[in-house]
């Protein structure tokens, strides 16, 4: 492995825990990642020395708070390759960012009969806001299917996109691990005259991304999956789009003037940030990105690809056909998310047995019920890898799974 995992793990206090006498093996980073000490330090240091509301005070700590908050915005914007900080609006999470687009851009640009194209591997965050708009406005949803290798089936792509106004697609599936070819999808969408929203919630933590290279219109991400704090995410969009969009939430910060009979809006991106923002969380997110950049996103990705390869091989060697893996069998264009199922044992029960041995995996539909229906299963277990995981973690998973298989065998001995 190219990363020094022992050193990295030392930066994450939670990973030093034991549970039931076992070393904690955290394999649920796709749900939410653990936080390095530097993120907690940055938040504490900010609260101890520079905390104040932003964009408001003349006094020194308020000035410092504003400068650090805006510097964090620049850090996030830079991390995803935005042209300028003004293109990045802070939200609570990726979900709110997609809702913002659906409410503001969607209600302005989509009318009854207009088509929004999704894929079968979208997270509920990139489905339900469009369902809500469908119910309210009568827009139509089309779905790009998945193929037998758990990748997008692009056979009828042009047909599906034809006449569409928007393609909303994840850059990486949180269930399958599949990494989609965003530049190609954007080109296809552009030829069809559609805008493109990229859900980068899973890609941003694990791959180098560049919204300008993607040539996308909107991208969303969420701090807690990329070593940052909970409570903050972001919408990136081209400046022209943000400027043309009406505001989403109303209140302080987002206004230029308020009278009894109306209001005017502030400049972008503040137009989309109503009320006191998640100030300390922005500082923490900035520190998380500093940490990731200190290691390098190429190195993070490379490590995860190697570890995924190791895990897929080890699972196959141990369980073979007895275990179904829901996701690509190769590691090209694939992230470290491994969904699996023993056909006769429910994912919940597998997780429970693993928990006895301090192996943390998630069981359930992973907020992707339409995908579960396509796969014709109610749930999977999911082990997801990050920069602090190593082959020992994968080995612990495999030992736990052998125990689960034994415990729930039809005739246990």
């Amino acid at each position: 492995m190219s990363l020094d995992i022992a050193r990295i793990r030392a930066d994450f206090p939670l990973l030093a825990q034991e549970h039931n006498g076992h070393r904690l093996v955290y394999l649920d980073s796709a749900s939410s990642a653990q936080k390095p000490q530097s993120v907690m330090h940055a938040m504490d240091e900010f609260m101890e020395h520079s905390y104040a509301n932003v964009h408001r005070g003349v006094y020194a700590i308020a000035e410092a708070a504003t400068a650090r908050f805006e510097a964090a915005r620049a850090t996030v914007a830079g991390f995803i390759g935005a042209r300028e900080s003004a293109e990045l609006a802070f939200t609570r999470n990726a979900t709110e960012a997609i809702n913002l687009v659906a409410h503001s851009w969607g209600r302005t640009n989509l009318a009854a009969g207009d088509v929004v194209v999704l894929t079968e591997m979208e997270h509920h965050a990139n489905i339900v806001p469009w369902h809500m708009l469908a119910a309210e406005r009568g827009i139509e949803l089309r779905w790009i299917p998945i193929d037998a290798e758990y990748r997008l089936d692009l056979t009828n792509l042009d047909e599906t996109l034809s006449g569409a106004k928007l393609l909303a697609v994840t850059a990486m599936s949180n269930v399958l691990g599949t990494v989609n070819d965003i530049p190609m999808l954007v080109r296809a969408a552009r030829s069809a005259g559609a805008h493109v929203l990229v859900d980068a919630s899973q890609a941003a933590p694990h791959l180098p991304i560049d919204v300008q290279a993607w040539d996308a219109d909107f991208a969303v991400l969420t701090a807690h999956k990329m070593l940052g704090p909970s409570g903050i995410g972001a919408l990136w969009a081209r400046r022209e789009l943000l400027e043309a969009m009406p505001p989403f939430l109303g209140g302080g910060e987002m206004i230029r003037d308020v009278r009894k009979d109306g209001f005017t809006t502030n400049d972008v991106p503040w137009k989309f940030e109503a009320g006191t923002p998640a100030i300390t969380e922005a500082i923490g997110w900035g520190a998380a990105i500093d940490y990731l950049q200190g290691i390098g996103m190429d190195a993070v990705h490379e490590h995860e690809v190697e570890l995924t390869r190791y895990a897929l091989d080890a699972l196959d060697a141990e369980f073979g056909e007895r275990l179904t893996i829901y996701g690509p069998s190769t590691t090209d264009a694939r992230g470290g998310v491994i969904s699996f199922l023993f056909p006769a044992i429910h994912a919940h029960d597998v997780s429970q047995v693993l928990d006895e041995e301090a192996v943390c995996v998630r069981a359930g539909h992973h907020c992707a019920k339409p995908l579960m229906r396509v796969l014709q299963i109610p749930a999977t277990s999911r082990a997801s890898l990050y920069l602090y995981n190593d082959t020992d973690d994968v080995d612990a998973l495999i030992v736990g799974l052998t125990h689960a298989e034994k415990f729930f065998a039809v005739d246990p001995t």
Binding site: H348, D349, Q352, E356, A363, G364, K369, M372, P378, A379
Partner: protein
Amino acid sequence: MAGLEDLYREIILDHYRAPRNRGELEVPPAHQVEGFNPLCGDEVILYLDVENGMVSDVKIAGQGCSISQASTSMMSAAVKGRSVAEARTITRAFKALMSIHESKIGGDDVDATADDLAGVRLGDLEALQGVVKFPVRIKCATLAWNTLVQGLDEIESSH
């Protein structure tokens, strides 16, 4: 520290591997009701035949973990052949068994008091008591019961 044996008693695994009353009933005359656990995707489908205030037949379908499947199977055995009133009392007694943690996590209000449920005998169902030590699984255990109540309510309000 609660171990796996507290959760997965033998009788639970037995109901899971060999669920009672699995199948369907014709709708109508039977009433069909579905329940979801939004957190894990488990699904329970109940077919209820209620005549003259009696739960004359119950069939169960759906998919889920051992706890939700076993609880559904046990529930079907416990209420089949009982009056609607008895079925409701058993449900409340069962939820009282689970309530310690459920009310904390889920905020469901359990109005059962020890007193008015003192006489209810839960039998096999008591094997599910170990679930309270695993708070997340309580929703698995109560899914079938919440669905049952919903079904009974629908049947009664349609009269």
